[in-house]
């Protein structure tokens, strides 16, 4: 059974419970203590994961959960990513009545993400999906604004539909194989009717795409990114993807050759990246823009999934990309949470001159998302593209690059006003729009720097993820 192997997940969940409980007894202004608790849980989980990282791959819970390098990396990235989100939340959520609940839900969702990431059984995937999704609905709605209510409704209804489809897919796969465990599925699916396997896989993948925010389950992403709070938006466009994409990787890795899943995943990747990029073109709200941008990033993330098992680079490149994307995307969001009242690209006019460090962080983050060296996303993009090419998917590699060019434009649309002269058009009336929030600002700078450092130290990162 070996539940000890799941210690990081357990720590996160228990941390969430402690946060929830202690939050009930804390005065509104002293809820920061729960933040400390949550941070402690996250750090503990990170440490535990890091300690377990060098070990050999092991199966936990009767083969339903795998603890290997991938899981380990996912744990570290998720935990640290959530930690960064906590830092952003320190400005935005601190002192709100729902502060402790927010942290608890963040931790629950992180736990669910990790369950997804390590799942080696279709049923575990299912419950991981639920555990990752349900807290998200609460997180999106917690802002309690009309828009956030709308976004919650949409996210929820989409999530419910895709959850049902996921269940249906699992049912189909189970039906033709009489098992839900990946270990057994590989062989049994090979003999099963391909049409059923295909339908089941598509349905399960669909569910994971919802979680990852890729086509066709992407509809909620821009809405939620725009309407929810900044920290929450950062979280939901970043962390759940990690689990979902890794789950997708594990899923397709065990599939037999009887279904053309590489082509399917490749097409989903192309659709996601293209759609995300094109739709982001004329967005004016920075967070919605980032929301669409994450849709496109999922497309890039799916590229190594599409070539899973066909290139040695696939898995390490996926993990590097995930880590890099997490850091970089959080940096971009941190800039938006530093100026919660700047909800228009034009309102960033002159920001770079007034706040050079934040401006630099934004530039690094956005160019990083484009894939400019030496940020870590570049390394990810380079290696994923190389993996696609290596596996013979040259067209996919080319499309990734073409899309990168397409993406450049809207990122530049944001960068351009940041360094343009002059004052923003009369919106900076509130102090929150003038003075950057301290925690978010530091977070932005640190994560942007980290994005560069990881890129420069990509060798270390690479050796970590390819143990």
């Amino acid at each position: 059974m070996r539940p000890a192997l799941l210690l990081p997940e357990i720590v996160l969940f228990l941390g969430g419970l402690v946060v929830l409980m202690s939050g009930s007894f804390l005065p509104r202004t002293r809820q920061w203590a729960t933040r400390v608790v949550a941070a402690t849980a996250l750090v503990t989980a990170t440490v535990l994961a890091a300690l377990a990282l060098p070990g050999p791959a092991e199966m936990a819970m009767e083969g339903t959960f795998t603890v290997d390098t991938t899981t380990g990396v996912a744990r570290i990235v998720v935990a640290l990513g959530t930690l960064v989100v906590l830092a952003m939340a320190s400005d935005e959520i601190s002192g709100t009545p729902r502060e402790s609940e927010t942290y608890a839900l963040l931790l629950f969702s992180s736990t669910g993400t990790l369950v997804l990431a390590g799942a080696d059984d279709l049923l575990v995937v299912t419950v991981g999906f639920l555990l990752a999704s349900i807290p998200l609905y609460g997180l999106i709605g917690i802002a309690r604004t009309p828009l956030s209510a709308e976004a919650t409704m949409k996210t929820y209804l989409l999530g419910a539909l895709f959850g049902i489809l996921l269940l249906a897919g699992v049912t189909l796969l189970y039906g033709v194989s009489a098992t839900t465990s990946y270990v057994e599925l590989t062989d049994r699916l090979a003999d099963a009717p391909a049409a059923v396997v295909g339908t089941g896989v598509m349905a399960v993948l669909g569910g994971l795409m919802f979680k990852a925010g890729g086509a066709p389950g992407h509809f909620w992403v821009p809405d939620a990114a725009q309407a929810s709070g900044g920290a929450v938006a950062a979280f939901l466009t970043t962390v759940p993807k990690i689990g979902a994409v890794i789950a997708a990787y594990r899923l397709v890795s065990m599939l037999p050759d009887t279904v053309a899943w590489p082509l399917l995943v490749a097409l989903l990747a192309v659709v996601s990246m293209t759609l995300g990029n094109l739709a982001a073109y004329w967005q004016t709200d920075p967070r919605r823009l980032l929301g669409w941008s994450t849709v496109s990033q999922v497309g890039y993330l799916l590229v190594p999934v599409a070539v899973a098992g066909q290139s040695d680079l696939a898995l390490p490149s996926l993990l590097v990309y995930l880590a890099g994307y997490t850091v970089t995307n959080l940096a971009a969001f941190a800039v938006t949470t530093a100026f919660p009242d700047r909800r228009d690209l034009h309102s960033y006019r002159g920001m770079g001159r007034a706040h050079p460090w934040l401006g630099a962080a934004l530039v690094v983050a956005l160019l990083g998302l484009v894939g400019t060296p030496p940020t870590v996303v570049f390394v990810g993009k380079l290696t994923t593209t190389a993996a696609a090419w290596d596996a013979g998917y040259v067209w996919l590699a080319v499309l990734v690059l073409v899309n990168t060019v397409a993406s450049l434009f809207y990122y530049l649309r944001w960068i351009a006003p940041v360094y343009a002269g002059g004052e923003p058009p009369g919106v900076l009336t509130t102090p929150r729009a003038v003075t950057p929030a301290a925690w978010s600002a530091s977070t932005a700078v640190v994560t942007a720097a980290l994005s560069v450092v990881l890129g420069v130290g990509a060798g270390v990162l690479w050796s970590l993820v390819s143990v």
């Binding site: 059974m1 839900l105 059984d121 575990v124 639920l130 555990l131 807290p135 609905y137 009717p193 049409a195």
Partner: protein, 187 residues
């Protein structure tokens, strides 16, 4: 033979009552129709030798429909049972999608060369389920409980406008609580 007829009949009931959900003109009736559909399916599940699951399904659904009826009366601010409604959009598209889906699925079901049965059902089905839950699939159930916790938390967060700080003050020291209806509803 009788079993077959009963099974088909239940199936028909399940489908038709399902369709009735969207045909009847009040939410309450829709709720009853849905419950009927679930009960029919639950019975079918019983036919398929899954006693425990079938019963659970029936019980859960009856409860849930009761909740739904109460919910609608409570929150919708109206008595939906009495209000005729036709709140449909994109009807044609929906019909096309649904019919196409059915046709595709049916075609698939009929054309696929389903594999042979693997093994046979255990002697005590419910026992096997319990052993599985406590054994190989423990993680599944272990995760379901956090999901429930999360659902409760998230549900409360979304549904409740007022927080503990609204009731007890920012330092949680106000007694008695400041409630719109002091002491709660049932008093």
């Amino acid at each position: 033979m009788v079993i077959d007829i009963a099974f088909w009949a239940l199936g028909l009931v399940a489908v038709l009552s399902g369709a009735a959900v969207f045909y009847v003109d009040s939410m309450a009736r829709a709720t009853y129709a849905l419950a009927l559909s679930f009960v029919a399916v639950g019975l079918q599940v019983l036919f398929l030798q899954q006693n425990y699951v079938g019963v659970v399904t029936i019980l859960m659904m009856v409860m849930e429909m009761a909740v739904m009826a109460v919910y609608m009366v409570m929150f919708m601010g109206m008595n939906p049972a009495l209000m005729p409604m036709s709140m449909v959009h994109g009807n044609r598209t929906a019909v096309v999608v649904a019919v196409t889906t059915f046709l595709v699925l049916a075609a698939g079901i009929l054309m696929v060369d389903w594999p042979a049965r693997r093994g046979s059902p255990p002697a005590d089905v419910t026992m096997a389920l319990g052993e599985s839950l406590m054994g190989p699939k423990m993680l599944v159930m272990a995760v379901v409980s956090p999901v429930m916790v999360a659902t409760i938390v998230a549900g409360v967060v979304l549904a409740a406008r007022r927080t503990r700080y609204d009731r007890f003050g920012d330092d949680l020291s106000r007694r008695p609580a400041d409630d719109p209806q002091p002491g709660g509803v049932g008093r």
